[in-house]
């Protein structure tokens, strides 16, 4: 175990669950996932049965050969997270948008699950 901890982890990809905020906005459910500096080609958002999968891999930095590494904290990781979807959520309409290192996934509730406004008649 210690061997593995000390071993050079550079070639090994560590999977990390990203920090996430979930909130409702105009009857939609929005997931804001914090994944800075990922390779957009590896961004993967999909629904598999009742589960929503979110995955992405960090982009390898293109640092010129003239540079020498002095200090390293930003790890080359793979972000992965899974959520179970409520049956009220529509599986067909799902939108995703990546900006400033935040992935926003917008989910819609099914038509039947939306609140219906009932008009009240006043005499």
């Amino acid at each position: 175990m210690l061997d593995n901890l000390i071993k050079n982890k550079k070639d090994e990809i560590v999977t990390v669950p990203p920090s996430i905020n979930i909130y409702s906005e105009n009857e939609n459910i929005v997931l804001a996932v914090e994944i800075p500096g990922v390779d957009k080609d590896t961004l993967d958002v999909h629904i598999d049965g009742d589960n929503l999968h979110i995955g992405a891999r960090k982009k390898r930095d293109e640092i010129g050969k003239e540079y020498c590494e002095r200090h390293k904290e930003r790890k080359f990781v793979e972000y992965k997270r899974e959520f179970e979807l409520n049956p009220e959520i529509d599986r067909e309409t799902i939108k995703a948008n990546y900006e400033h290192g935040i992935l926003k996934v917008t989910l819609q509730k099914k038509e039947a699950a939306l609140p219906k406004k009932i008009a009240i008649k006043y005499d």
């Binding site: 175990m1 593995n4 901890l5 560590v14 999977t15 990390v16 669950p17 920090s19 996430i20 905020n21 979930i22 909130y23 409702s24 906005e25 459910i29 804001a32 914090e34 994944i35 800075p36 500096g37 990922v38 957009k40 982009k59 930095d61 640092i63 010129g64 003239e66 540079y67 020498c68 590494e69 002095r70 200090h71 390293k72 904290e73 930003r74 790890k75 990781v77 990546y98 400033h100 290192g101 935040i102």
Partner: protein
């Protein structure tokens, strides 16, 4: 005597497989805890966050990369003072979302401050700063006199 299902442990290979399994699980545990919170846990008492930073050095420049997800340009302040680079700012909550609309809030919000000592004298007014996909990149040119000089040796 407690009732434990009998498991055949015939060969010594079995216990090695078990050991390997434990090792795997321990490694996963370490990976999870080490990679998730580099700066202590985000609890009430230890609620401190600072951006993760990489520093590279070349003959002419110092290159710094910092992970700052979800920040707009005016929320980050970069200054150089007494050969120290200071990264300062505040991660603000999205204003339009009301507190009661949150189901889950794991992302850190609040102010951060980080000082990075620079090893050499730098050209403070020629810093190239760019922000892309939540990553801030700073290219800081070294001062001419701080660059390494090659001394030619006359062979006689």
């Amino acid at each position: 005597m407690s009732l434990i299902p009998y498991r055949k442990q015939s060969t010594w290979l079995d216990s090695f497989a078990e050991m390997e399994n434990i090792q795997k699980q321990m490694n996963q545990l370490f990976d999870f805890s080490l990679s998730r919170n580099l700066f202590g846990d985000n609890t009430l008492l230890g609620g401190e966050w600072a951006p993760a930073v990489d520093i590279y050095d070349s003959k002419d420049n110092i290159l710094i990369k910092a992970d700052l997800p979800g920040l707009t340009k005016d929320e980050v302040e970069v200054t150089i003072q007494n050969n120290n680079l200071i990264l300062k700012g505040e991660k603000k909550k999205e204003k339009e979302i009301k507190e009661e609309n949150y189901y889950r809030a794991e992302r850190f919000y609040g102010s951060f401050y980080r000082t990075i000592p620079l090893s050499t004298a730098v050209e403070t007014d020629k810093v190239d700063a760019s922000y892309k996909d939540g990553v801030l990149t700073l290219k800081i040119p070294k001062k001419e006199e701080a660059k390494p000089k090659q001394i030619t040796i006359d062979v006689k």
